[in-house]
């Protein structure tokens, strides 16, 4: 009887521990996922602000300011990719970096020749929002 009570006690504690671990790990995953989403939103805002700053029709192209911003973007993307806890999300972040690189190359080419139009800026922002929405599974 005593040995049965002890076995039940151990079993109950084991079950409680397993439940606690499961609940805690779920909470951590949700918390990390939220943090990861926030990082992606931060990259989206950076890229939209970048387009707003440099895709302005008629604005004189400032190569130095442009390069500073691109370097800032590169560092930001690199940091987010390195710190990403979900390894499955890294390829998505690399795709987003590819979008940023493509935007920067096209924008430099157009802005340096004074060939930015309002439609170009609008369509670029539309594409950025679309690719980030897809990255976030929306």
């Amino acid at each position: 009887m005593n040995s049965n009570t002890a076995r039940n006690f151990v079993l109950r504690n084991l079950l409680l521990c397993a439940a606690a671990i499961a609940i805690t790990s779920c909470g951590t995953a949700t918390f990390s996922k939220t943090g990861s989403d926030a990082q992606i939103e931060s990259l989206r805002n950076f890229e939209l602000a970048f387009i707003d700053e440099f895709a302005v029709p008629g604005k004189r192209f400032n190569a130095t300011a442009f390069d500073v911003k691109v370097n800032e973007g590169n560092a930001k993307f690199q940091q987010v990719i390195t710190n990403e806890k979900f390894t499955a999300r890294r390829p998505v972040l690399v795709d987003l970096k590819g979008q940023f690189d493509a935007d920067a190359t096209h924008l430099r080419s157009k802005a340096s020749r004074g060939k930015v139009t309002p439609a170009l800026a609008g369509e670029m922002k539309k594409d950025v929002n679309k690719v980030y929405d897809h990255a976030l599974g929306r």
Binding site: D95, G98, Q99, A102, H106, S109, K110, K115, T117, P118, A119, L120, E123, K126, D127, K130, V131, H134
Partner: protein
């Protein structure tokens, strides 16, 4: 009275398909038979994509059409158009790869194939019209 109703109806239908009409009317001007056949194939595929059940396929077709109209109106140039086309392709490849094997061919036909026809056959025609 009936004629007023008719006008109202015509106005609203024109409003909903304004962009489609702008592109269609431009492409309908093509008289060369072999080119006209390509334009017809493109218009049919575009219409099919715009009515697809997949939101991404519909969205892709809508964006392509809008950008062709922007190109025709000279609001963007060919460099911009090619840039947006590459963006669309990059985005779509992920989508197609995520589809079940049996759906991939159809998804590709209604997305990447349409973009290819637009780039190689429709854009040169639109640029000639500018």
């Amino acid at each position: 009275m009936p004629s007023a109703g008719k006008t109202k109806h015509r106005k609203s239908s024109r409003k909903t398909s304004r962009k489609s009409s702008a592109l269609d009317s431009a492409l309908d001007q093509v008289t060369d038979e072999s080119v006209a056949a390509s334009m017809k194939e493109f218009q049919d595929l575009l219409a099919q994509a715009k009515g697809d059940t997949s939101e991404l396929i519909r969205q892709n077709a809508q964006e392509l059409e809008e950008r062709l109209v922007l190109l025709k109106k000279r609001k963007i140039d060919k460099e911009d158009f090619d840039f947006f086309l590459e963006n669309q392709k990059r985005d779509l490849r992920v989508f197609i790869d995520s589809q079940p094997a049996q759906s991939q061919e159809r998804a590709e036909k209604l997305t990447l194939h349409i973009l290819e026809i637009a780039a190689t056959k429709v854009v040169p025609v639109l640029i000639m019209m500018i």
